[in-house]
């Protein structure tokens, strides 16, 4: 009797210890799941973020025409800087990024990285390490507006062309003004008066809309021709309020954006064509409420141009950015000495008008440069500088190529800003 009692007690006591021992394995397993799982989750988050940055950096290199090997090394540098700087990663072996170019134009790039993460507590359950992978994709394809039942695309896309023309006194009194007018005539003449829309804004001391957009597709070609003739002789009352004086580029762009935004049934290719010969030096609106163009009398800031205030150029830049954000292709023809100067890349607080214009058009993280033909272009649009009538013609020829979509794939209008798509 007594013996049995003792036995009973001992057996039960042993059972608890045994249970605890078995439980401990399960407990350590659970703890391992939490610890190692948490660590793996953190590693994946870090890996993924580093790969994102690397993919964007590599994409930028390729958009700017860099070689693939160059993109690879840049991606690796960004990745290493992000990933290995994390204190915990000190003991990990280097990770080789994997780049896969799915398409050059428009750009579509896939970047991935895999690592094997050592586990600390999971070996109890027989797992020594764990594969962790991260992947990012960047592309600069333009988001296509959904068109219901789109017909077979045999002809080019419709265009909404907003022409914004600088008529400040500096260019009006130049002997080259007549060339500007003649070249811009070729642009609207190259479009289809039945299916494309054209509007004309001029600016100087003020901003004036000579021809607004029609609500329906098409534009009044005869009226545009007449206005083009009028613009050749600047001292006509019809141009008052828009011609002569300073350079109100910012307000003109604001008005252009508003007109483009109000358009019913936008065309697939909205284009803003800006001709300018100088740095914006007039401010005509409250910068905190850019919609209120011209609600305040214009205020002249900074003449001569070398003292042009950052405020007015910033407004000009914002106008271009706002257009780009709405998916408008921005084509800029810059003319004359005033836009030259400041080398690129430009640091913060840049002053030159050309630098501001280029910077506004640039892809994120890019320092835009003019090529041998004084032109810079990317998926956002184009900037073309000229100093004489020959250069002017070359610039406008490029503009016509873009609006008539005669350019090669990858020309402005076919690509959008570089972005992460996954």
């Amino acid at each position: 009797m007594r013996r049995q009692r003792l036995d009973d007690g001992r057996r039960e006591r042993g059972a608890v210890t045994l249970m605890a021992a078995f439980g401990m394995v399960a407990l350590i397993g659970c703890a391992g799941l939490a610890l190692d799982g948490g660590m793996a989750y953190l590693t994946r988050a870090r890996l993924s973020s580093a790969v994102d940055g690397a993919a964007l950096a590599a994409g930028r290199v390729l958009v700017l025409g860099g070689r693939f090997a160059e993109a690879e090394s840049v991606a690796q540098a960004y990745f290493d800087s992000a990933y290995f700087a994390q204190a915990y990663a000190a003991g990990l072996t280097p990770v080789k990024l994997n780049l896969r170019l799915l398409s050059q134009r428009p750009l579509h790039l896939q970047v991935s990285a895999q690592i094997r993460q050592p586990l600390y507590l999971m070996p109890v359950l027989g797992m020594r390490d764990m594969a962790i992978a991260a992947e990012a994709e960047v592309a600069n394809t333009r988001r296509q507006p959904a068109t219901a039942g789109s017909p077979a695309v045999s002809r080019r896309k419709g265009v909404d062309l907003m022409m914004v023309t600088d008529m400040s006194s500096s260019i009006l009194h130049s002997s080259d003004w007549v060339h500007v007018v003649r070249e811009s005539k070729k642009v609207f003449e190259s479009l289809d008066a039945r299916s494309d829309r054209v509007a004309q804004i001029i600016y100087g001391d003020g901003v004036k809309t000579l021809l607004p957009f029609q609500p329906r597709p098409g534009f009044d070609l005869a009226e545009m021709r007449r206005l083009n003739g009028v613009m050749q002789t600047p001292n006509v009352p019809e141009l008052d309020g828009g011609a002569g004086g300073g350079t109100a580029t910012g307000p003109a762009l604001a008005q252009a954006n508003e007109a483009l935004a109000r358009l019913p049934a936008r065309a697939p290719l909205p284009v803003l064509l800006l001709f300018t010969d100088g740095v914006a030096n007039l401010q005509c609106m409250d910068p905190r409420r850019p919609g209120d163009a011209l609600s305040v009398p214009c205020r002249r800031i900074g003449v001569p141009v070398s003292q042009s205030s950052n405020e007015t150029v910033a407004q000009m830049r914002e106008g271009i950015r706002a257009a780009l954000d709405r998916g408008t292709t921005v084509l800029i023809v810059g003319y004359g000495r005033e836009l030259r100067g400041t080398p690129h890349p430009v640091p913060e607080g840049i002053k030159s008008g050309e630098a501001w214009l280029l910077d506004a058009l640039a892809q994120p993280g890019e320092a835009p440069r003019l090529d041998a033909n004084q032109t810079y272009s990317n998926g956002n649009g184009m900037y073309c500088w000229s100093g004489d009538p020959v250069g002017l013609k070359a610039c406008y020829d490029k503009v016509i190529q873009v609006v008539t979509q005669a350019g090669a794939p990858g020309a402005p209008g076919s690509a959008g800003p570089l972005r992460l798509i996954r």
Binding site: D8, A31, A34, G38, Y41, G53, A54, R60, A77, D359
Partner: protein, 170 residues
Amino acid sequence: MKPPRVLDQARGGVLIEFVLLLPVLLLLALPLVDYGRAIWAPVALNDATRALANWLSREPAAGLPLPQRLQQAVAAMHGVADRGDDRCFVVTWLVGGAGGAASRASARWPETCRIETAARAPLAQRSLPQLAPGQQAYVVEAFGNQPPIFLRGVLGAAAPPTAVYARAVF
């Protein structure tokens, strides 16, 4: 009447054993809470730096000085960067120059960063990407302190907080 007594005795033994084992079990289980929090903190910081870097590299507010842009970025993140109070973001904007020299601007948020770690390691020692002329990079770093709840309960204020660090290069 005797058998119940036997059972009672045995149950008492089990109870004693359990009580003896309990601290061991608790010691194993409770730090997991702190550990979970210590894992969560860098993940949250990591997500915030990534979001900030992505926003900044797109530059919707380009043209503004970096500190203002950082402020706008934080505002645009709808409080992602705001979660928790003991943290601090440092943005370094690098622009590659000729000969490998990069110009840089930096800003921090909040401007009155209380975390000293941010200043402790000079930036140059935390590896930065080599940039070609004209290339730009935004290095967003986050520094945080994560106080351990469980250890604080045991050791009081003597338990040191875990330093948390995250960075994104875009």
